[in-house]
């Protein structure tokens, strides 16, 4: 905790409704965020039990300097992923980090299953287990409102509400958790884990005051960081068009996954570009608390009620590059309006957009190939045709039949059950992100602790290469270096968009300004300590890097760096494996 030499951990047992608070000095060496969360996960997991067993923990943690400096806006969640069966780690922005900070909580560990649907109301001096039976099976928009109204008198500070949708209730393996309407713990199925605990939502009120200890020093550091944030390119890039700016360069370079990665370019890319979305639908931009950039792009569309003519509703939905890729190009949808409608439906049901798009891409092709039939898919899924996808996402969230139940466990699982594994576009069990940029993105996601492109930013390594020749050892080392450094950055739980603002020197002065002397060597040691903890968790959960097999299509459809060679991919994987073999002992 800020200005303390301890980390405050709140333990919550959903079954017994007992609370325990521990101030732990020993966790301080993990700094905060993903460091503290990894350690707490390691301490609390039960590797012998399935991911959704009530005994398994969910950990939330904020960073060592959360909220007090710009763009340190995120909260990390760690859990055992029901999608991959191993290390689950996911980040969300919004207000949650500030509310935890002002509630005086560094980390929350939740285990056990409630007797009935429950929501947690957390503030600095109370934790209540509230009856959520009437919220179960309810759409998320009204869940937020109902919780706000239920607690109107109870708070004097700022509130954050996180909740699951019906997909989480039904334990779809890639169900997400929505944070404050527009942000998500998207990947790897945290929503299913909360669903398995009968935990519909958590409301956190930050109502504590935290006096600044050395105002002059702190405010100087704050000002420097603020200036850096608003004057760098960060501001313009992420605020203006935002991440959807990626559509056109990825398309031109041949790295845009299209039609279940049958193609690396989309002939209608210009119709679904960032500029097209801005022009047709963008109505406002909002920010996570403490971020002057404001990258959350809100698109609006109107929808006619089915039953009457000339009657409309307007719908606002947040969009980003990854969503346009997964629910747009990957499925061949070429109208921004239709993509927004798909995003909205997936959002309401509470599923990860990337996984949803990828499983539907596979299902579409599997149907074409005749390994499944319309009896399975109910609707005739077809690339480019959004009405069927709009129906299919509902079936997916509801687990409508045997096929959709299977699909709801991820594309790896479904393709193992039905076939078509060569074109089931996952990497180590996690559905691919929107980058077919080269070995960096492909192997990077395989070696990544949570198989996310955000663990080591492999696409950026691909982008930085001068030609298509790759040295396997250099690539493995570059991925490892970035993976380890990001463990440290994520212990501050910053928005990674701003990672260049927070260089080592800046981080050291930010700590110093609140009275914590930390050296460059200590940051390095902390990064390694955190990575080692993650590797131990993965090992305990039975993950073996040597067993990773890439679906064939990655080596058939050219990437941004040309056609990838399967042997080279496995060679980089092998090199990486050698490099980490002695890392897990770092203390």
């Amino acid at each position: 905790m800020l200005y303390q030499n301890t980390i405050r951990v709140l333990y919550i047992d959903m079954k017994t409704q007992k609370i325990r608070i521990e101030d732990r000095e020993d966790l301080k060496k993990y700094m905060g965020g993903v460091g503290v969360a990894s350690k707490l996960l390691e301490e609390n997991i039960h590797p012998e039990l399935p991911p959704l067993d009530p005994a398994q923990p969910v950990v939330f943690a904020i960073g060592a300097l959360s909220t007090i400096y710009p763009v340190l806006t995120k909260t990390v969640a760690m859990f055992i992923s029901p999608l991959t069966g191993e290390l689950g780690e996911s980040y969300a922005g919004g207000r949650m980090a500030m509310c935890m900070f002002l509630a005086g909580i560094d980390a929350i560990v939740i285990h056990g299953k409630a007797d009935r649907p429950t929501y947690l109301a957390i503030s600095s001096n109370d934790i209540q287990f509230k009856d959520a039976r009437t919220l179960w099976n309810n759409n998320k928009d009204s869940v937020g409102r109902l919780i706000r109204d239920d607690n109107k008198r109870a708070h004097g500070g700022k509130r954050s509400i996180i909740r699951i949708g019906t997909a989480g209730e039904n334990q779809v393996s890639f169900a997400c958790v929505t944070v404050d309407r527009y942000r998500h713990f998207g990947r790897l199925g945290l929503g299913a884990v909360l669903g398995s605990k009968y935990l519909k939502a958590i409301s956190i009120v930050g109502d504590r005051s935290v006096p600044i200890q050395n105002f002059k020093r702190y405010f100087k550091a704050y000002q420097d960081l603020y200036k850096k944030c608003v004057t760098t390119e960060l501001m313009a890039k992420y605020h203006d068009i935002g991440t959807p700016v990626n559509i056109e360069p990825l398309n031109a370079a041949g790295g845009l996954p299209t039609l279940n990665l049958r193609q690396n370019r989309f002939e209608h890319a210009n119709k679904v570009s960032g500029e097209a979305f801005s022009y047709l639908h963008l109505v406002r931009k909002v920010a996570c608390t403490g971020c002057p950039v404001g990258c959350i792009h809100i698109g609006q569309f109107k929808r006619e009620f089915a039953s009457h003519g000339h009657e409309y509703e307007t719908i606002s939905v947040a969009y980003d590059y990854e969503l346009i890729y997964a629910l747009g190009t990957f499925l061949g949808i070429k109208k921004p309006r239709e993509i927004l409608e798909l995003i909205e439906e997936v959002e309401i049901l509470g599923m990860d957009a990337m996984s949803t798009g990828v499983v539907l891409g596979w299902a579409t092709e599997a149907l074409e190939n005749g390994i499944i039939t319309q009896d399975d898919t109910i609707v005739p899924l077809k690339f480019g045709s959004y009405e069927e996808y709009l129906e299919a996402v509902k079936y997916l969230a509801a687990g409508k039949n045997k096929f959709y139940k299977s699909l709801g466990q991820g594309v790896k699982y479904a393709s193992e059950a039905y076939g078509g594994q060569d074109y089931a576009m996952h990497i180590a069990g996690n559905e691919m992100a929107g980058y077919h940029t080269g070995y960096g993105s492909l192997v990077g996601s395989a070696v990544a602790a949570r198989h996310s492109h955000l663990c080591n930013g492999g696409y950026a390594i691909d982008q930085g290469l001068t030609d298509n020749n790759v040295d396997p050892d250099e690539m493995a080392q570059a991925l490892l270096n970035e993976e380890i450094e990001r463990c440290m950055l994520n212990s501050l739980v910053m928005c990674l968009f701003a990672r260049k603002v927070y260089d080592r020197e800046t981080i050291i002065s930010a700590f110093a300004a609140v009275g914590e002397d930390i050296t460059d060597d200590e940051l390095t040691a902390t990064a390694r300590r955190i990575y080692a903890t993650k590797l131990r968790v993965k090992k305990a959960l039975g993950f073996k890097l040597q067993s990773v097999r890439f679906p064939k299509r990655f080596f058939e459809t050219p990437s941004m760096r040309g056609v990838l060679d399967e042997n080279m991919a496995y060679e980089i994987l092998k090199k990486y494996h050698e490099k980490i073999s002695d890392l897990e002992t770092a203390e």
């Binding site: 313009a236 890039k237 056109e248 031109a252 370079a253 500029e275 696409y459 030609d467 968009f497 990672r499």
Partner: protein, 75 residues
Amino acid sequence: MNVTIETGRWALRYVEKDIVCVNMPESSTVMDAVAAIGLPSDEAGITTIGGKAVPKDHCLSDGDFLKIYPVIIGG
């Protein structure tokens, strides 16, 4: 020689117009063209001529239509 250079609206914080015709010395490269329109070199992502990707040291010819895309961004 004359080269037509197109960026896109994303580049308007550096350049006045998103499509310009520039007169450049013979044997100028793609990188020279990026500099000529005032775009910082690290803001230029993939570059194409007639829809085909070209490296930054590629020599331009008279009448080329050069398109400069933004760099890929993200976490």
